[in-house]
């Protein structure tokens, strides 16, 4: 296996790629996300958003003020569960 430092395990985004994004002029976390695709995988950034923010803080001297928008769902949900929400039993 080749040595890679994974910043985002879910999408296989390496630390190298984030550094390249910085070199290409992307300084805010949202555009680094769009450039590399980090934080868009299975876990939706539970580990890598904060890791990337720390890297940005170190590299640019300024941490991002806001995280990327935390969108639902927190964990993946079966479409069948969402489809069943229409016909609820009142409790």
């Amino acid at each position: 296996m080749t040595a890679k430092a994974m910043l985002c395990r879910c999408e296989d985004v390496t630390l190298d790629e984030v550094m390249e994004a910085l070199e290409a002029g992307h300084r805010d976390i949202e555009s680094v996300k769009r450039y590399t695709g980090f934080g868009t995988g299975w876990c939706q950034g539970k580990q890598c958003v904060v890791a990337c923010a720390r890297i940005l803080a170190k590299a640019t001297g300024r941490a991002p003020e806001l995280p990327i928008t935390p969108r639902p769902p927190l964990h993946p949900v079966a479409l069948g569960v969402l489809a069943s929400l229409g016909d609820a039993e009142e409790g």
Binding site: M1, T2, A3, K4, A5, M6, L7, R9, C10, E11, D12, V13, T14, L15, D16, E17, R34, Y35, T36, G37, G41, W42, C43, Q44, K46, Q47, V49, V50, A51, A53, R54, I55, A57, A63, P64, E65, L66, P67, T69, P70, R71, P72, P73, L74, H75, P76, V77, A78, G80, V81, L82, A83, S84, L85, G86, D87, A88, E89, E90, G91
Partner: protein, 438 residues
């Protein structure tokens, strides 16, 4: 050498973990199946822990490079433990209790997760394969080729064996919803219920205690819930919007309407970013500690790095069975299919340790996502080096009716302080519910 189960008698008498394991007893032994082989499990323990105990470190392959993946966090924060269970793809095995006869299969690999020929992707792209960038930059034929390539190589699992039917959803109306049954969540729910509010307390785990469940040095009983609190375990809140929260309880959708929402979702552990940090056998200290609390030693030769609560508890429990480097940082994990060692650094000195489990107690990050979805303002904290929901002294956020409590807002504080904070936040939410001023 491989992970294995330990007995209370393997531990020094009187150790808190020995007492916990003795209390677990030997009941509930069942058999599950993994890639055609029988695996001994304890009913109700996380399936990922059963697989770990059987030495199954590699459970899947990563989407792009087909690098080996295994459980890393054991608390639903990574992609490491996804398996196909009973014909359903992408099941987070660390969040799935083991049941007799369960059939688990590794996924996303050809032919198996152990020997995956698509792993050549990793060697073809020694630095990285930047598909987003490529797809944007090149038009025409290359783009189309890349699309086909990406589609063939990437993706998670394959469709389920059968069309499942889903149970009818449920909808609940309460005064207050508390998410997270750790020390602060329970204290908060109790304060609300004792003040007469109708409270629902949910937690994705199988019982209360939060991080205390995973601390092998903590064998004290968890404070009980007031009988007036409605409690649901195995119930994870996954989305929240307006005054509604979607909870998945044992595979069923539950929509909860609540005037007050309290998030006591704690902090996430990490191993940090270093070369090869994704190799199976690299665990967060909490994951390793969690497995220990189920009587599973996730490695025979353990390199432990960091000085957080879980690292200290592991060191205190296992003594000289682990090599503990509290002040070191990991430079690189060694090994291909499973971790074989680590290069560590401290104060200008670099050295290599051999291990079959690399356990790292890295930086914490507040689990802010649900509070953020609910509309609370979430900002970077220089002190904690992570994003944290803004809150006043009593846990109220910038969004009316949304509160945060416990480690989520303070970082790792001790149990009594978390409980006190939860009670104070509960009292505040109660006053707001009654329409009283501050």
């Amino acid at each position: 050498m491989a992970p294995r189960r330990i007995l209370p008698t393997d531990l020094p008498p009187g150790s808190p973990l020995a007492r916990r394991l003795a209390a677990l007893g030997s009941s509930g032994r069942v058999t599950v199946e993994h890639d055609g082989s029988p695996v001994a499990a304890v009913e109700g323990e996380p399936l990922a822990v059963s697989l770990l105990a059987a030495g199954q470190l590699t459970l899947a392959r990563s989407v792009k490079y087909h690098r080996p993946r295994g459980a890393m966090c054991l608390r639903g924060d990574c992609d490491g433990c996804l398996v196909r269970v009973d014909g359903v793809p992408n099941v987070m095995s660390c969040q799935t209790p083991a049941r007799a006869g369960m059939v688990a299969q590794s996924q996303n690999a050809f032919p198996t997760a152990g020997i995956d020929v698509l792993r050549v992707t990793d060697w073809f792209f020694p630095r990285h394969l930047d598909h987003h960038h490529l797809l944007v930059q090149f038009g025409g034929a290359l783009n189309r080729t890349m699309q086909v390539f990406a589609r063939r190589m990437a993706g998670l699992g394959t469709l389920p064996d059968a069309i499942a039917s889903f149970p009818r959803s449920e909808s609940l109306d309460v005064d207050a919803l508390v998410v997270g049954a750790g020390s602060s969540g329970v204290a908060c729910a109790n304060a609300l219920a004792r003040g007469g509010a109708r409270v629902l307390l949910v937690d994705e785990r199988e019982g209360p205690g939060g991080m205390r469940r995973d601390d092998p040095m903590d064998d004290r009983a968890y404070p009980g819930c007031d009988p007036a609190v409605t409690v649901r375990y195995g119930a994870g809140a996954v989305a929240t919007y307006d005054d509604e929260t979607l909870v998945i309880h044992e595979g069923r959708g539950v929509t909860v309407r609540a005037r007050a929402r309290v998030f006591a979702t704690g902090a996430r552990e990490s191993v940090g970013v270093f070369s090869q940090s994704d190799v199976p056998g690299v665990f967060t200290a909490r994951a390793f500690a969690l497995a220990l609390c189920h009587g599973v030693l996730a490695g025979e030769r353990v390199a432990l790095v960091g000085d957080g609560l879980f690292a200290r508890s592991i060191a205190a429990t296992l003594g000289d069975r682990v090599t503990h480097s509290p002040g070191a940082a990991v430079v690189e994990a060694l090994g291909g299919r499973a971790v074989k060692g680590a290069k560590l650094r401290e104060g200008g000195r670099e050295w290599t340790v051999k291990c079959d489990a690399l356990v790292v107690d890295g930086e914490l990050g507040a689990a802010y996502e649900l509070a953020g979805q609910a509309g609370a303002s979430v900002l970077w904290s220089d002190g904690r080096q992570c994003f944290v929901p803004e809150s006043d002294a009593e846990g109220a956020t910038s969004r009316e009716g949304v509160y945060v409590a416990g480690s989520l807002r303070w970082g790792r504080i001790d149990h009594d302080a978390r409980a006190r904070d939860g009670a104070a936040v509960g009292a505040r939410a109660l006053r707001d519910l009654r329409g009283e001023g501050r």
